[in-house]
Symmetry: C2
Subunit: 330 residues, 2 copies
């Protein structure tokens, strides 16, 4: 399968992005990558290596991380993000991978309005590390006006993702809420709870969970509206960074100098443990196509993982399963 990779997206682009493509094509049989971006910046990173299975689609513009997504998409018609979506739209690529501005990648995708049959609103799913293995949380920012039916569909889509990408059999689903009792929460939460309870997912629906349950690994799939999910995700990023960097300082101050290297190595290992890029990026679920969004700080292995996930997504026909599930539920 051929993947359109946003070569210009990400804090360190295009170096590690191109390298991730090279490794993916080398390691994953049947994978081809279209590097979308400025040919002059991409080519040096390909020089001297084996470039079979890799082509460049040249474009002249790039949307920065700090730009307003909607405005940038309007002005920069020749940006790598827009070109990626176009390549997928015309069938020249089966999937998109980008470590660029999440807002711009999602907005460009939603703009096309090519959703899977039966899907009301696509959602961004992230895979989080927990004490109990990985879990999928969605939506984390695609949908700012969630309705109960949207959250229910996130449960269906998140389950299929957990099953096929994370290899979890019969994943459990829970609703993010402010307490575990059934009558807890705002109107959205109460109505969503009722919808799950009367659905075909009800045997795998655990009901409400609280914020502290995410990292305990209480559920395999957690659904929430995009506002809540986005805030939670960013809180986690900030907090892990702060706690770990403070822990490191505190620890080093109390240990003899000859133990500093061991302590530093331990902290680096810990940072990796909470680094969700290991799970291969965040899919935008519900679109007619495959779009995997990577963290801005993605390096070579995060990009390679995202390309691998895109491949499994296509191979396992996750979109067809979503359509079939949603249309049999209704």
């Amino acid at each position: 399968m051929r993947i359109a990779l946003d070569a210009m997206g990400g804090d360190f682009a295009p170096g590690p992005i191109v390298q991730g493509a090279v490794e993916a094509v080398r390691d994953l049989p049947g994978t081809e990558v279209v590097l979308v971006g400025d040919r002059a910046q991409i080519e040096p990173h390909l020089a001297g290596g084996d470039t079979s299975g890799i082509e460049i689609f040249h474009c002249t513009q790039n949307i920065g991380m700090d730009e307003s997504p909607v405005e940038a998409l309007r002005r920069k018609r020749d940006s790598s993000i827009i070109r990626c979506w176009e390549l997928m739209g015309i069938g020249r690529a089966a999937a998109i991978v980008s470590a660029g501005s999440t807002g711009a990648v999602v907005a460009a995708g939603l703009f096309q309005k090519k959703f899977l049959k039966g899907v009301k609103r696509p959602g961004i799913a992230v895979v989080l590390p927990t004490a109990n293995g990985p879990c999928v949380m969605l939506d984390v920012g695609a949908n700012m006006a969630a309705k109960p039916e949207h959250l229910f569909q996130y449960g269906v889509m998140g389950s299929l993702y957990a099953e096929h990408i994370l290899k979890i059999e019969e994943p459990t689903v829970a609703l993010m809420n402010v307490g575990t009792e059934e009558q807890k929460g705002n109107e959205l939460a109460k109505e969503t709870h009722a919808l799950f309870d009367s659905s075909r997912l009800k045997d795998r629906f655990l009901g409400n969970i609280e914020g502290r349950d995410i990292y305990k690994g209480t559920a395999h799939v957690i659904v929430c509206d995009g506002f809540v999910g986005n805030v939670v995700l960013k809180v986690c990023e900030g907090l892990v960074e702060l706690v770990l960097s403070n822990s490191a300082d505190e620890m080093l101050a109390r240990l003899p100098r000859d133990q500093h290297d061991a302590a530093r190595t331990a902290f680096e290992a810990l940072m990796r443990r909470y680094d969700y890029s290991q799970y291969g990026g965040a899919p935008l679920l519900g679109i007619d196509g495959i779009c995997i969004i990577c963290h801005g700080a993605s390096g070579t292995s995060a990009i390679r993982n995202a390309i691998r996930v895109a491949g499994t997504f296509a191979h396992d026909h996750i979109n067809e399963l979503i359509v079939s599930e949603l249309n049999s539920h209704s």
Copy 2:
């Protein structure tokens, strides 16, 4: 001033609760405490000590942490939580402190509908440790149907709390959102942003912040709706616990045995740093009275701190300042 202390509320009640009262009365001049709860359980913890300034208000029931708040309040009319509110209602106490079920304490308070003049909806504020000193976040769970005006009022009330309790001059205020641009977020966030921008608080209003900014200490006061705030607070609790306990394990595994004590001490110090009970509990702001909610795991010093905060709250006339600010804003 006299404080009604829920002697039965909290994971370790009544022992450390009673001890907290004893220390507060000893250390804080002019403080009297009414211990509300089962006399037979309270008295042993007072035996042999100086009990001047302390009285017991006997009641027979207690609302557990896992009970449904609304139902429990209906059934248990002689519970310590209800009796605390009644004592404040009839003027026999100027403030309430409880480490019992937050849901029940808040529901009992809201049930009375005695809000300060001009306050639309009370909110629970927590003080969080950040890289940059403490910050106040509200609402964290009193109000599940927030409107822009409620969030604006939280900004006003949170500012006064930060100023008087945390001693922060001209505290800055920010709106929890999914991005920093003005047009970001759901309808509630957009309308709230506009409301702050046209208010007397506008010079101290920083606009939107993201989840990762909380712990950076970007703002002194962060406003959000009670659903988001509650989820965020519990995510933080769970994550800090997980990260720190994992860090401790990882670190100990890599260090020689004779360094284990130093490492454990460092981790205990860290746990304390993220322990927000040091800031004296969470006030329910906007009610006609003073109510400080403590964490269920509160020990002696958390209770003493909460009693101290209640005293400052009364001494500085924070409620009068809230009424005056809100009614001059409108």
